[in-house]
Amino acid sequence: MIMKVNMVSAINSALDLAMQEKEEVVLLGEDIGKDGGVFRATDGLQAKYGEGRVMDTPLAESVILGASIGMAMSGLHPVPEIQFAGFMLMGFGQLANHAARYRSRTRSRFEVPMVVRTPISGGVRTLEHHSDSPEALYSHLGGLIVVIPSTPYDAKGLLIKALHMRDPVIFLEPTKLYRLFKQEIPDEMYEVEIGKANLVKEGNDLTIVTYGTMVGVVNEVVEKKNLSADVLDLRTINPLDEKSILESVKKTGKVLIVHEAPLGFGPGAEIAARIAEKAIFELDAPIMRVGSNSFPYPFPGYENYYIPNALKISKAVDKLLSV
């Protein structure tokens, strides 16, 4: 059956199906029970599966993540929800010191199958610390799989896939996309491959590598300017689908990388370096990047001056095509 849903409902459906499938799947976090999470991603799940499987925890991010690691090593498949990405830093040590390396530090004797969900990115006029795009932080560690969906279809399929893996997955959900649009998706279980980018548009003149909140903005620019462009939605930040990026770049000879995360030391730098190392002689122009400015996320009154918009992307495209 097909259902027409937004991203929040798609995530809810994925969690519901995964909980139906495996008793080992448990949800924990702040306000995720009766309240269904501050964005309602877990709405109705406590009523359906009980307080023993959908747990409101004390307000303490480090133990939410640390206890999830312990649960994961003991046969459960926990899905901790961290209310906002900014608060996840309080549990960063658990992710960096333990989730990322428990498998390697025990030569796979212990594994940490868990999916950490948290809302990321801005554009929705929230208070401080509610709008960060921290994917580079988690990708840099190694050992953590970092996923960012841009559509309801991908959100559901990637989340189900993450719950079928034996790895710690950082599942970053763009707040702005939670309710931005609806899409027709299957109501049953399906997987979207992790580690594989999605070619959302095909063209010949340039490649735009992007993901998350920027996919929609990039598509808008491509359509408005009637560009013949490959638009690659990465979906997984780590491990990177380098193969798809290189394939497209070698075809078009021009590449622009667009993300909402700050430009400096951002994911774009990693992608650009890989392209430069492996395909520089097949490029007709310098690699270009568009990101937010290289400082922490501002207060909401300033966010529209900070996040890359269609104009900024459009100018970068013009510059790239003029070379």
């Binding site: 448990v26 023993g52 747990m55 925890t57 004390p58 303490a60 480090s62 133990v63 993540l65 640390g66 206890a67 999830s68 690691i69 312990g70 649960m71 994961a72 090593m73 003991s74 046969g75 459960l76 926990p78 040590g93 658990q94 010191n97 333990h98 498998r103 390697s104 530090r105 025990t106 030569r107 796979s108 004797r109 212990f110 594994e111 190694g142 050992g143 799989i145 893996m165 034996r166 790895d167 580690g195 491990p239 990177l240 380098e242 193969k243």
Partner: protein, 356 residues
Amino acid sequence: MIKRVFQGAIDNIQIMDENGEVDVSLFPSGLDDNKILEMYKYMSFARALDAKCLSLQRQGRAVTYAPLIGEEATQIGSAMAMRAGDLFVPNFRQHGVYLVRGLPLEIMFLYWRGFEEGGAIPKEVGGFPYIVPVSSQMPHAAGIAFAQKYNKKDVAVLGYVGDGGTSEGDFYEALNFAGVFKIPMVAIIENNQWAISVPRSKQSAAETLAQKGFGAGIKCVQVDGNDVVAVYKVISEAIANAKDGPTLVECVTYRMSMHTTADDPTKYRDPAEVEIWKARDPIDRVRKYLTRKALWTPEFEAKMGEEQLRLIDEAVAKAETFKPDPKSMFENVYSYMPEVLQEELDDSVANNFWQG
């Protein structure tokens, strides 16, 4: 109007004093002299093992090592209190716990020789690997305990932390979580009075570390951590009660040696203090007890020591034959090999980067 809404008190329990005299009214019913003899053997074994690790490190045959000398009663007493299926989460000093739980010593040596293979604690040991970031293991213990309750298993999870570790947020977060979910966790503070150079008095203004359990609404008690009988009794009771909820046990002991082999306590610690604690040695008092019971003789000691050294030497020899395979670093990052990582591996192999 003033109404007292909470009142708490901490008991300190000692059963066997420094002279090996026993308070019979508190003597645990399940304990006999054979078991005390076994405790003595394990404590002696742990001390011999400790000396060996220290010597290996000084010879460049081990990396940095954290000695346990002085803390044998806390470790052996708590480990022997565990039932067959119980689990434990150590920090970086609980070599004695591993010993009691049957960790093959060559695996322990692999850890201290700097190889991840030393983290592959066999399932039957019922333990998790050493954890270095102080107190960060306590949330794991809480999650492991949660999973036991979730699966309706009567299994207790012992989580070890030092006195310094009780100042970390993770310590309190884990206790608080344990209290709310009433999980079968026994949090053991191995209070050895020193966090590298910072004394217990500068770690917290609280009179006891045990009382930190009140803030989490869980049972809490203090025990003479150099009294193996008292530790055994208190931890046994906490384990028996674990199905009804967590307990915090502060074991008051002393770090007789350095924090790790990278540390020099003469820089910050008065040697007179060490002398005071020498008189409270956890092994000496059991020897006095066993001598009175005619269960200890110098011949017994010599034979036991010889046998333990033989086992240690065999394990060291085995660990020293271990050859690391650099490929294993790549093969254990994820549950599968991503292409980008495979490429780094292939690059290293093709170019012989690991030669010499």
